[in-house]
Every structure is written in structure tokens, then in C-alpha cells.
């Protein structure tokens, strides 16, 4: 299978995964869409060989996370309102939680998304984000504390 066919397969399989992670980290729709495009362009550029599906998914998320980090370093403001305009919450509860999560710092949002939505372990998140596992655990711990306070004592 050549790389253009492989791209179609990867796009179909992972476009939503990458978009959701990019939105979680960046909180801005147009930047998130650009970050997703950049991640697939990186794939076309590097043409990596994957050991298995897990490796493939982790590689794409790592490339995406690196791209998001670069964007966060240079951007000036974040548009959470735009996010809900483009992707409205299906119900009030999910909207409330999303607003609370998106109010977290980007590093905590990234850890929250990869842990609670993608189901990665803290060691796996550390490898994806290029952080130490202890740092990831700190981010998660702080995020849980903040979310508990904002969402009236509920646990994640």
C-alpha cells in the first residue's frame, strides 16, 4: 500500500481522534484544524514505519501534541466560545464540564484528555507529551482538584 492510500486510511481512522485532542489542547477550532493537518503532513514527510496500531496512534498524537505546543507558544488568545459555537454540546451537563475543563491550563487539559478520554496511562501520556511521568501525574492531580472545586465537589 503506498503512502497516499495509507494516508486515506489513516485520515479516516484518526482524524476525529486528532481533532478532539487538538481542540482539548488548543481550545480554538481553526488552530486545531490546522494542527490536525500539520500532523498528517508530518506523517507524509517522515513516512514512519509503525510496529502496530497502538504505536501508530501514539505517534500521531505525539506529533499533534508537539505541533500544539508550538502553537501555544506563539498565540495570543484562546477562543473557547468559538469551540462551542462550532461544536455545540449535546446537553447542558457536557457543556458545563467542557467549559470547566477548557478553563484549565493547556498542559492540564492535555493530560486530562489523554487520560480520561483516550485512556492512556500516565507513562504513556508522558511519552506522548514529552514529559516526565511525575509531571503528568501532577497535572492530573491539579486538574482534578480544580474541577472538583468548579463542579461542586464531584469527582472526575
Amino acid at each position: 500500500m503506498d503512502h497516499s492510500n495509507r494516508l486515506e486510511t489513516l485520515v479516516t481512522q484518526y482524524e476525529n481522534t486528532l481533532l478532539r485532542a487538538a481542540l482539548a489542547i488548543l481550545g480554538d477550532v481553526s488552530e486545531a484544524e490546522d494542527a490536525v493537518q500539520d500532523a498528517f503532513v508530518r506523517y507524509l514527510e517522515k513516512k514512519p514505519a509503525f510496529r502496530d496500531a497502538d504505536h501508530q496512534r501514539a505517534w500521531l498524537l505525539k506529533v499533534l501534541a508537539n505541533g500544539c505546543k508550538s502553537r501555544l507558544r506563539t498565540r495570543k488568545r484562546r477562543g473557547t466560545v468559538e469551540l462551542l459555537d462550532c461544536y455545540p454540546a449535546p446537553d447542558e451537563r457536557s457543556k458545563e464540564v467542557l467549559v470547566a475543563v477548557m478553563a484549565l491550563p493547556a498542559k492540564e487539559r492535555a493530560a486530562v484528555h489523554l487520560f480520561y478520554y483516550e485512556g492512556y496511562s500516565t507513562d504513556e501520556i508522558a511519552a506522548i507529551l514529552g514529559q516526565r511521568p511525575g509531571t503528568v501525574r501532577s497535572h492530573l492531580s491539579r486538574a482534578r482538584q480544580t474541577l472538583r472545586e468548579r463542579l461542586k465537589g464531584e469527582d472526575l
Binding site: V36, K46, D91, V97
Partner: protein, 277 residues
């Protein structure tokens, strides 16, 4: 709460327009830019005290990647004037450190009369054989370099340690004049050896490289894909390592093969006498 977050994220889907845009993506074209080394002098930064400096992107050849077959991993073209030469790169097998490694203490005893100093960009160019070697053969681009060398009384090189680092690549070279591999504090027991042009080259998958930000403590450079080779040729023993990003094994192995080929086929300039222009 987790359920509510999952409910929201599950509802997010790529629009048809974005989907089509993604399917239409293509790899960026790599520009081949040729620049005289002298014109980049302003781009080189030498920091007093640390002797760190940058050899900018001096130009590159388009690599011709082919799957390895037999003794070759592929190759590249070198353009010199109107002539073009295809340089084949040796295949090197890499073992894993499955038998374990051990730590030892060691000390290098430099010959009497030798002088240790920081390396300069001129030293590196002289060592590898000039612009063409650096640009075309080694493909060392955009790395910030630092290193120390021990020079004998006649000016020739006795020992060198060189470290080059970029955003997604790091290179280290440990060189010792003579027939022995430079000693190291980590003795690796991996035993995968490839014959490259009559020289036994030990290759193994080495460790990962990570560097933490001093202020935040977070890892800012994470290069998990690495290869190390050890061999002795043309009057020197070498330990050469390349660290690359996730998924970059092909690029890492090509860079290693480039250096191995140069060191064995051409040899490095240990006399440190600049070549005549």
C-alpha cells in the same frame, strides 16, 4: 463528569470540508539550496566559554531512499560542478543490548605535551574534510555544536568529543586516535557486528535522550530513536551516536551510515591540517 466529557468529545467530528482537505494533503517539497559556507559566517554563533556554535543548513543533497538490500541501505547523489556521483551507503545491523550493560570508571591519560581545548567550527570542517563532506556526505544540518578536543604537540588530534543538538536530532562523536574504541563508562554487551568495507562495525540500539527544562523540570527534548556504532578505521577508534524523534529510525540509520562510510572510505583528517583550497 468523565462521562459528560466523553459525551462531548464523542460528539465532535471532522467536517466533510476538513476531511477532504486532509485527503488532499501532500508532503512538503524539500528545497535543495546551495550556499557557500562563507556566506553563512554571520549565522554562526560562537559562545565564549561554552564554545557552542551553530553550523547552519549549508545545503543538502536529495536522499534516494531505497529499502536495504544486500549490503546497502540506499544512497545519495553528490553534485560537484556539472558532475554527479551516486554514493552508496552501507547497511549496518543493530542489535539490542539484550545481554545487559555495566558501569565502569575510566580515565583518559593524555600524552605529555598535549593540549585540551574547546572545538571551533573550523576544527569540525577540517576534521571531516571540508564543506562538501559536511554538507553532502554527512548531512549534518542545523545542529548546535559543542565539543572538546585533546591535541598533541604536533597539532594532530588525539581525542575528541563532539555533541550536536537540534530540535529533533542529536549527534555525538567520541574519537580516539589509534586502534581502540574510545573507552566509555557504560560497557555495552550487544554483539551485532557488520562488516563494512572490511571493517567490523558494532551496532546497537542505544538509549533515549531527554533534556529537561531547568525552570519547569519538564522534558523539552525527547528523542527515543537512537543508534550507536563502534569501530576503528584509518588510525582512529569511533563511537558515533545519533538520536532522533519517534518514527525516525530510517533517518537515524541513514545518518549513521553516512558517517561510517565517510570514516572508513575517506577517513577523517586527524592531522587537523586544513585541506588546500
Amino acid at each position: 463528569m468523565k462521562q459528560a466529557y466523553q459525551t462531548y468529545m464523542d460528539s465532535v467530528e471532522v467536517s466533510p470540508a476538513l476531511h477532504q482537505k486532509l485527503l488532499g494533503l501532500s508532503a512538503p517539497r524539500r528545497e535543495i539550496r546551495w550556499r557557500r559556507y562563507g556566506s553563512l559566517a554571520a549565522a554562526l554563533v560562537v559562545l565564549i566559554g561554552t564554545a557552542a556554535f551553530v553550523l547552519g543548513r549549508l545545503g543538502a543533497n536529495r536522499d534516494l531512499f531505497t529499502p536495504h538490500h544486500g549490503s546497502s541501505i540506499g544512497g545519495y547523489e553528490v553534485l560537484e560542478g556539472d558532475a554527479s556521483t551516486y554514493v552508496e551507503l552501507p547497511y549496518i545491523a543493530y542489535g539490542t543490548d539484550s545481554t545487559g550493560s555495566s558501569l565502569v570508571d575510566y580515565a583518559l591519560l593524555a600524552p605529555e605535551g598535549s593540549v585540551e581545548r574547546e572545538l571551533t567550527e573550523a576544527d569540525i570542517l577540517t576534521l571531516v574534510g571540508g564543506e562538501t563532506a559536511l554538507e553532502a556526505h554527512l548531512d549534518w544540518e542545523g545542529l548546535t555544536w559543542s565539543g572538546q578536543g585533546i591535541f598533541l604537540s604536533d597539532g594532530s588530534l588525539w581525542h575528541l568529543y563532539l555533541w550536536g543538538e537540534g530540535s529533533d536530532l542529536a549527534v555525538s562523536l567520541d574519537l580516539l586516535a589509534g586502534d581502540e574504541i574510545p573507552p566509555d563508562c557504560v560497557i555495552t554487551e550487544a554483539d551485532t557486528v557488520t562488516d563494512v568495507m572490511g571493517v567490523s562495525v558494532k551496532g546497537y540500539v542505544s538509549g533515549i535522550y531527554g533534556k529537561d527544562d531547568e525552570e519547569t523540570g519538564e522534558t523539552v527534548v525527547w528523542l527515543p530513536e537512537s543508534r550507536t556504532v563502534e569501530f576503528a578505521a584509518n588510525g582512529a577508534g569511533y563511537r558515533f551516536q545519533v538520536y532522533g524523534s519517534e518514527g525516525e529510525s530510517q533517518r537515524v540509520e541513514m545518518l549513521v551510515s553516512r558517517f561510517v562510510r565517510l570514516a572508513i572510505a575517506d577517513g577523517l583528517n586527524l592531522t587537523m591540517t586544513p585541506a588546500e583550497q
